[in-house]
Every structure is written in structure tokens, then in C-alpha cells.
């Protein structure tokens, strides 16, 4: 049962991170390889604020994503934007290079072992069939709120309509007078903010390590291939489901638990290449 909560938590991270990747991909047609490093930077940011400036976790939860979003916007404006005319694979290479730089720098500064982050919500509640730590419940709830909030913003607001239309046909949207390039910067910034927020949430769960993002992001890539990046809700559902699936595998057949998601990915590619919620292959 404890495994299932872990599964829910992992699922929450898969959902938030694949949501960020999907949103960025939809607007910019770029797979943000830096996402994992931005997640790690979010966690480190919160840790650094706590360690050096005694800024509490709850403030970091707001400050870190905002600062990261700002930095993300700068990256898009100064670097990514210049590459749009080129083959999209070059943008992928750029984000990969940035990821290496960020993780490498963190490793140089802080070594490869982890830094502990105190649990801001110690204790838990007894649910009868299991013990649910407060913090973990908070992570799941916060992730759900963020995911559903993003879904609502994209599917039900005017700005979201602009984003969805720009995903379909950015040039035409510009002819209506809508500054699509600025929307793209905003979208990237938002995606980065999401990754950083997930990082802050992740900090207290385990340790804060420079490598915490890279393994995770590769699994999230598999999640994204399975889900298909065709819909926001699809990414969210796929993320949570795969987290739970991973946990179940750990309970019933542990040796396969680290690879089960990749196996599902292989199966989905063979049967439905566009992904479960994808639109075109």
C-alpha cells in the first residue's frame, strides 16, 4: 500500500513534467530537453534559498518557479527563437547542451551526493489501511491542482484559445493581430516554471542531487511518447496512470519496475504509434 502512494507521487511528477513538455511542444514544436535540469534547478533553488537566506519552503514554492520562468523566458528570447528557422533537431541539441551545462555546474558546486531538505510538513495521518505522510499527500494534491489548473487555463480561457490556435496555425493567428512570438516566450517560461515547481515539491521527498532530473526526464520522455502529446488531459492521465503502474509492478514483479514504462512505450509504438491520446503519428 505504501508503494501505491509512492506510485501516486511518481505519477504526479510524471504528470506535471509531461504536461510541461506537452505545452512547450505544442506551441514551439520543441522538445525541451532542459526540462529535467530545470526541475533539478528548481529543487536546488529552494534548497539554496533555505540554506543561504533562510527563506522557508512555502515562500520558495512561489519564488522559485517565478524566477525560473523569467530565466526560461530569457532563454527562449535570446537562444531558442533564433533557431526556429532551422531544423527542429537543432533546438533539441541546444536544450540538451543547456541541460548538460546546468547539471554539470550543479555537480561542480555541490558534488554528486545529495543534500537533505527538511520535510516542511512532518507527520502524517492514519487512514486505517495505511499511513499517509502529510507531505506526500500535499505533493499529490498540489500536482493535481496545478495540472487541472493548467488544463482549465488552456481549454477554457481566451488566452488558452490563442495558445491552442497557435498550435494549429501560428501564422494565421498572427494575422489576427495576436503577437504569437510573445506567446511562445510566455509558453516556454510557463513550462519551465512548471518544471521548477515540480522540483521544489520534490526536494523534501528525497535528497536534492544534481542528477535528480536526468533519469527522471528520460522516463518522462517515454511517458510522453505513450501519451502522445496530443492533449493536455492525455498527458495528465498518462502520467498518473504510469506512476501507479510502476508501483504495482514493484509490488508484484520488482525486477521489471524500472523498465516497465519503457516496455509499455515499446508496445504502444507497435500498436498505436501516435500515442494513446495523440493526433497524428
Amino acid at each position: 500500500m505504501g508503494q501505491l502512494t509512492l506510485g501516486l507521487i511518481n505519477g504526479a511528477f510524471y504528470a506535471v513534467l509531461s504536461l510541461g513538455l506537452t505545452v512547450i511542444f505544442g506551441m514551439l514544436r520543441v522538445i525541451n530537453f532542459t526540462h529535467g535540469a530545470q526541475f533539478t534547478l528548481g529543487a536546488f533553488g529552494a534548497w539554496m534559498l533555505l540554506h543561504y537566506l533562510k527563506v522557508p519552503y512555502w515562500a520558495s514554492l512561489v519564488i522559485v518557479p517565478l524566477v525560473m520562468a523569467l530565466l526560461g523566458g530569457l532563454v527562449e528570447r535570446l537562444l531558442l527563437k533564433r533557431l526556429y528557422e532551422m531544423n527542429h533537431l537543432f533546438q533539441l541539441l541546444l536544450t540538451f547542451g543547456l541541460a548538460q551545462m546546468i547539471e554539470g555546474t550543479l555537480a561542480v558546486l555541490y558534488g554528486s551526493s545529495g543534500k537533505p531538505f527538511d520535510n516542511p510538513m512532518p507527520g502524517g495521518m492514519d487512514l486505517g489501511f495505511m499511513f499517509m505522510p502529510y507531505y506526500r499527500a500535499w505533493v499529490v494534491v498540489a500536482s493535481l491542482v496545478v495540472c487541472l489548473g493548467t488544463w482549465w487555463a488552456i481549454e477554457r480561457t481566451r488566452l488558452g484559445a490563442y495558445l491552442r490556435a497557435s498550435t494549429d496555425n501560428p501564422d494565421l493567428v498572427r494575422t489576427f493581430g495576436i503577437p504569437v512570438p510573445r506567446l511562445m516566450t510566455l509558453t516556454y517560461a510557463f513550462g519551465v516554471g512548471l518544471a521548477a515547481l515540480a522540483g521544489v515539491l520534490a526536494g523534501p521527498i528525497d535528497q536534492v542531487k544534481p542528477s535528480m532530473g536526468s533519469g527522471l526526464i528520460i522516463t518522462v520522455f517515454a511517458v510522453v511518447v505513450i501519451g502522445g502529446m496530443g492533449s493536455i488531459m492525455g498527458s495528465i492521465v498518462t502520467g498518473f496512470t504510469l506512476g501507479l503502474l510502476e508501483a504495482l509492478t514493484k509490488v508484484y514483479y520488482p525486477p521489471a519496475s524500472s523498465v516497465v514504462i519503457f516496455l509499455v512505450m515499446a508496445a504502444v509504438i507497435l500498436v498505436k504509434p501516435a500515442g494513446l491520446f495523440g493526433r497524428q503519428p
Binding site: F25, R29, V30, I31, L79, R82, L83, M86, N87, H88, L89, F90, L92, L93, L94, F96, G97, L98, A99, Q100, M101, I102, E103, G104, T105, A107, V108, S214, G215, I218, T219, F221, A222, V224, V225, P255, S258, V259, F262, L263, M265, A266, I269, L270, P273, P281
Partner: protein, 312 residues
């Protein structure tokens, strides 16, 4: 470029011949292994336009096979290397069939995910030696007669292998098959409408690239006498991409130049090993933003006004 091919290969042969007099044989041998790895990767990326983020699977997987065969089964060198290549070829078919079903960015993600899956498999499997890897791998005489315990002799064996493999890649690039591959890369829809079995062409390119990457990994084992998890990790996949990018995607000699640059840089940074990923990341960023055609590519474009077989 084509007309001078005999001249070029003669020059290459000359360079290969004298290299051990100019640099340490071990370094030169290492360079050739990675140059081959990069050339194999470039065949897929530069000619077919397929960016694989998981080539370490073939490189490292073949390394493990060759290492294990040499150390634990006592095989002869040539058979152990062949085993590595066979593994890489078969793995290339499996990974290729899965990945080619999607294009572009999805293709890259799938190759990365599959390589990562293989990495986790290697972490857990007993015969890989886990974190320690397979070490102290013996260097048996090639064909029973050529003693490769001497670094210089090993260099020449690897150099000959490299030369042959490189010539093969060159032949492929400038063959009708290569032309079709580039046509598919530039405008797949058009190639389909012209009746080409596009997926089959891509798969063949993928498998050849995987096999040669495996050859590079197997040779590397002879040089270092070690096969480890790093060889199947995503940083190795990233490194070969970097070498190709620095040298020039789609150029013939780019991989050689790129491998030389990166390996030289790494040897200079010996004392600062932890800075290597940061600097490599920086090189990535600088290359993509300022010199996307790579050193050789930019040189060809500016000096000879030639556009190499480019990824557009």
C-alpha cells in the same frame, strides 16, 4: 569532393600511417574508435536526418559482448569483435523497427528511452559487472599471429579496420542508395510519392549505423581493456552527437575532426574532470548557435563555397 576521392584516401592513409609518430599511440587508437563511432552516427544523422539519442546502446552493448567473450569465454580477438558487431546489428534491427515508426523529435525520444531501458538492464545484469564493469580484458593476438599487447601494433590493426570501415561509409554516402537516403531526408513525402520504400531505406541506414557503432565499441574494449556502464549511458550518446556536431553534420571528415577536438579537450581537462560536462554542454550551445555546420562544414561552405550533404 568525389573526383578527389582517391587523393583523399591516399592522404588519409598517409595520416594514419604517421600518426603514432606524432601522438601517443593509445590516444591515436582511442581517437580512431570514437571517430568511427561518430562516423557511424553521422551516417544516420547527416545522411538520413535521423537523430538517435541512444547510440550508446550499440557502442556499449558491443563493448560488453566483446569484453565478456574475451575475458570469460576466452575467445580470440577477431571472433569477440565479430560478436560485438553481430550484437549491435541485431540490436539495431530491434531498436530501428521500433523507432522508425515515428519521426523527428519522437524518434529521438524513443531511441533515448530504449537506450535507457538497456542501461537499466545492464545495471542489473550480473555479467556486466555492474558499477565496476568488465575490466582487465586480455588482448589476444589477432588471427593468432598479430600481437596487440604492443600499443603501436594495436594502433595499426585498429587503423586498418578504421580505414576499411571509413571507406565503406564513404562508398555508401556516394552511392545511389545514399542519394535516395538524402532525398528521403530532405522531402520524405516526395520520396514516398516517387515509390520508394522509405521505411526500409531508413531501417537499413539505422542497422548499418548501429553495426559500425558496435564495431567502434568492440575496438574500444581492446584499447582500454574495460567495458563499463558509462559506455551504455546517455552521456556517451550525447558525446558522439557532440563530436558529430563539432565536426560537421553530414560531412565526411567532420566526425574525425570532431572526435579529435573533443578527445583532445578531454585530455587537457584531465585534472578538472568534473568540469568536462559543463564545458561540453557549453560547446554544444556555442556550436548550435554560432557554427551549426560544424568546423568542417563551415570551412567547406566558406572556403570552397560547397554545401555539404546537410541536415536542413
Amino acid at each position: 569532393m568525389r573526383q578527389y576521392s582517391k587523393l583523399i584516401f591516399a592522404a588519409l592513409a598517409l595520416v594514419l600511417l604517421v600518426a603514432p609518430l606524432l601522438v601517443y599511440p593509445i590516444f591515436a587508437t582511442k581517437l580512431l574508435c570514437f571517430a568511427l563511432f561518430a562516423a557511424a552516427f553521422n551516417l544516420l544523422f547527416g545522411q538520413a536526418g535521423l537523430l538517435s539519442f541512444g547510440h550508446a546502446l550499440f557502442f556499449g552493448g558491443a563493448a560488453y559482448c566483446t569484453g565478456y567473450a574475451l575475458k570469460t569465454w576466452g575467445w580470440n580477438t577477431e571472433w569477440a569483435v565479430l560478436l560485438g558487431v553481430v550484437f549491435a546489428t541485431l540490436a539495431g534491427v530491434v531498436v530501428g523497427v521500433l523507432s522508425i515508426r515515428r519521426q523527428g523529435i519522437y524518434f529521438a525520444m524513443i531511441t533515448l528511452a530504449l537506450a535507457q531501458m538497456f542501461y537499466y538492464f545492464c545495471v542489473g545484469a550480473p555479467f556486466t559487472g555492474g558499477d565496476d564493469g568488465i575490466s582487465a580484458i586480455p588482448r589476444r593476438p589477432v588471427f593468432g599471429v598479430i600481437d596487440i599487447t604492443d600499443d603501436r601494433t594495436l594502433y595499426y590493426v585498429v587503423a586498418v579496420t578504421f580505414f576499411v570501415a571509413f571507406a565503406l561509409i564513404y562508398r555508401i554516402i556516394y552511392s545511389p542508395y545514399g542519394q535516395v537516403l538524402r532525398a528521403i531526408r530532405d522531402n520524405e513525402a516526395r520520396a514516398v510519392s516517387l515509390g520508394y520504400a522509405v521505411d526500409r531505406y531508413k531501417l537499413i541506414a539505422f542497422v548499418i549505423s548501429a553495426a559500425l557503432a558496435g564495431l567502434a565499441g568492440s575496438l574500444k574494449v581492446l584499447v582500454f581493456r574495460l567495458a563499463s556502464l558509462v559506455d551504455v549511458g546517455w552521456s556517451t550518446s550525447g558525446e558522439v552527437i557532440l563530436m558529430t556536431l563539432v565536426g560537421g553534420i553530414g560531412t565526411v571528415f567532420g566526425p574525425l575532426v570532431g572526435a579529435g577536438f573533443i578527445l583532445t579537450m578531454q585530455s587537457y581537462l584531465q585534472g578538472y574532470a568534473q568540469w568536462v560536462p559543463v564545458i561540453q554542454g557549453l560547446v554544444f550551445v556555442v556550436m548550435v548557435m554560432l557554427l551549426p555546420k560544424g568546423v568542417v562544414g563551415e570551412f567547406m561552405a566558406r572556403v570552397f563555397k560547397v554545401q555539404p550533404a546537410q541536415v536542413k
